[in-house]
């Protein structure tokens, strides 16, 4: 187990470097961070040169990247356009997005798995066909469309919830955004659970459980579900990282000041340290979530034991 973790950590290093370098390259080499600082005004050449020196923009890209990474590992993510440290932006943004992600995950688990189990056990019946078609529709309608439509219906028309989230982002206000964020993944969870259940109902060990004379409930809960949910649980694990990065659209619709909001502002203003800093953290979250899922898999399925 220990050796496996170390091997996976080593494998993560090139991916981490590659992804962050790619973003770094796009922001620093393709864009012009200095011009961006001045917005539409023409920068004063002397000031611009000073800034270029301070930001090491005259060095080669590789050197710039190394300097940046060294700073990151000492906790220095640079300063955002308004003079705020990027870390303080992160400090306010990440808790909000993490809360939003957790709400979304709860929706995925509760609704997605429940629907998947129901359809998986009633394959070919009207419930099954109906839910399957519904998942297709949910997957097809882009998040920003569902977001606005649900916001309009529940926030504007029915007034069940605030159409936009206040800066403190309490969980109550995050319910609707969380659902919007979760919807597509929820549809995946439903389909994945359904397929997994459907596949396993024909498994030999389920037949054995029936032949043992176990009551149907026990066959389903202890034998069928226990096995079928392994891929679902691991999917949801990896999805946590994906949801955090995908929150950008949801956060814009509901005016949530989380990671996506800050990133969007950073990109619009071409604020290099914000963008690279946030993306670096997200890539890290994503990689670590993957690693944890791999380990979780070994816990859930005793057949997998990593050497």
């Amino acid at each position: 187990m220990g050796r496996y973790v170390i091997r996976r950590l080593l494998q993560m290093i090139p991916v981490f470097i590659g992804s962050t370098f790619l973003i770094f390259f796009m922001v620093y080499a393709l864009g012009d961070p200095v011009a961006a600082l001045f917005g539409d005004r023409a920068p004063d050449p002397a000031t611009a040169a000073q800034i270029r020196r301070d930001l090491h923009l005259n060095d080669s890209l590789g050197e710039q990247y190394l300097i940046y990474m060294r700073n990151i590992f000492t906790g220095d993510f640079g300063t955002a356009f308004n003079g705020q440290a990027v870390t303080s932006l992160m400090g306010s943004a990440f808790p909000v997005t993490i809360r939003l992600t957790l709400v979304a995950v709860v929706f995925e688990v509760v609704i997605g798995i429940a629907l998947g189990v129901v359809t998986g056990l009633r394959r070919g019946r009207p419930v099954d066909t109906g839910v399957l078609l519904l998942t297709l529709v949910v997957i097809s309608v882009p998040t920003f469309v569902t977001g606005y439509v649900l916001q309009y219906i529940f926030g504007v028309r029915l007034r069940w919830t605030a159409p936009s989230v206040s800066p403190s982002a309490p969980v109550g206000e995050l319910l609707l955004p969380g659902l919007v964020l979760a919807l597509v993944s929820l549809a995946y969870v439903t389909r994945l659970t359904r397929t997994s259940i459907a596949e396993n109902t024909r498994a030999d060990y389920v037949r054995t459980a029936v032949a043992k004379g176990l009551p149907q409930r026990r066959v389903i809960v202890r034998h069928l579900l226990r096995n079928s949910l392994i891929p679902v649980v691991t999917f949801i694990g990896t999805d946590i990282g994906a949801l955090m990065g995908g929150a950008i659209v949801t956060e814009r619709i509901f005016n949530i000041h989380g990671v996506g909001f800050q990133l969007y502002q950073g990109i619009l203003r071409n604020n290099a340290p914000t963008v690279v800093g946030f993306v670096t953290i997200l890539v890290l979250v994503f990689l670590i979530a993957n690693l944890l899922v791999d380990l979780l898999y070994a816990v859930l399925d005793p057949r997998i034991r990593y050497a």
Partner: protein, 353 residues
């Protein structure tokens, strides 16, 4: 989830009554390509302490019959359309689902071919064995574990006390099949159905597992239905044999008679296709053609397209032969069983001479 100890009332029964009496059983699979008639009027009986070997190629309906008896047919697509399965005098097919569940595992148990896939991969063997006692006998967790260890000892799995916490994939093939046998034996059932119990095992292990099964059967005077396509296994342990083809029984006989002189051309074909040391150097016999599609079973005798004796005989093509008594407690579903029997008797005599 534990239920109260279940007791199926046993009607008055005389020792002569069979333990299991399958009567005119029909099973079909309704698939999108049509209706596949998997079992078409099977009759057989098993007495306490008796071993019936059911023989046939894959697709002959031998496993489907067993699943119908057990009540573990995949429905849909599989449906029992006609017949009775009398177990200790009561028809399993008309029982309520709950009554039937209590029979399963406790009174009739099944051993599957591939223990690796038949055991739940994510539960320890201890949990899977103990589950029998927890569900059927309402045992506590602790009692169940003790029983599991006892069972593993009984099927001679070494170091049972430690291995009870292991998962199925951590056992060797032979040991896994012993776990399966232990699970079937757990509640000392009256009847065990073993569906190709040794097919997935190495030849050396096969004999050990068969011996264990036979020994346990004697100890508890259970009925045993042994489903197999391996004639070698049958000879040692079975009391009688039923040969199945295309969902029908084509021949039944006490075990030794059938080896000496089969009364159905299909049985004869099966016997001839066993490699034999005394026929070394000669070409191995194979039955020509393939078993029929169950969607389109040929009219008349289903075996006629592959049968040398049927050549040129209109009767075989038009009339379905019934399974009728022939000689010495045997039955054959061949119009020309006398010919078949005679041929081999003569051959056996010549060989003996």
């Amino acid at each position: 989830m534990a239920t109260s100890p279940d007791l199926v009332p046993t009607p008055a029964q005389t020792p002569a009554d069979p333990l299991l009496d399958v009567r005119d059983l029909h099973v079909e699979f309704r698939t999108r390509d049509g209706v596949a008639k998997a079992v078409n009027g099977v009759n057989y009986t098993v007495h306490a302490g008796e071993t019936l070997a059911v023989l046939g190629e894959s697709g002959s309906g031998k496993s489907v019959t067993a699943q119908a008896i057990m009540g573990i047919l995949d429905t849909p697509p599989g449906f029992v359309t006609r017949g009775q399965v009398l177990f200790q005098g009561r028809d399993l097919l008309t029982m309520s689902a709950e009554e039937r569940r209590k029979v399963r595992g406790a009174r009739i148990a099944m051993i599957f071919q591939d223990a690796l896939s038949a055991l739940n991969p994510v539960l320890t063997v201890g949990e899977q064995l103990g589950e029998m006692f927890r569900v059927h006998r309402g045992a506590s967790r602790k009692e169940a574990r003790a029983k599991a260890i006892e069972l593993m000892d009984r099927v001679r799995i070494p170091a049972a006390r430690d291995r009870v916490r292991d998962y199925p994939h951590q056992f060797s093939g032979g040991m896994r099949q012993r776990v399966m046998i232990a699970m079937a034996m757990a509640l000392e059932p009256d009847l065990i159905i073993a569906d190709e119990p040794t097919t997935a095992l190495d030849v050396t292990v096969q004999a050990q597992v068969m011996d264990l099964l036979a020994e346990l059967q004697r100890e508890f005077t259970m009925g045993l239905i042994l489903i197999t396509h391996d004639l070698g296994v049958v000879a040692d342990v079975a009391d009688k044999i039923a040969v199945m083809y295309a969902g029908r029984i084509v021949e039944t006989a006490p075990v030794h008679d059938i080896y000496r002189a089969p009364a159905h051309p299909y049985t004869r074909g099966l016997l001839r296709s066993i490699p034999r040391l005394d026929r070394k150097g000669r070409e191995l016999y194979a039955i020509k053609g393939l078993p029929p599609s169950l969607l389109h079973i040929p009219p008349g005798c289903p075996f006629h397209p592959r049968c040398a004796q049927a050549r040129g005989r209109e009767l075989c093509r038009s009339d379905l032969p019934a399974l009728l008594p022939v000689v010495g407690g045997r039955a054959s579903a061949c119009h020309f069983w006398k010919e078949t029997l005679g041929d081999d008797n003569a051959a056996a005599d010549r060989a003996g001479a």
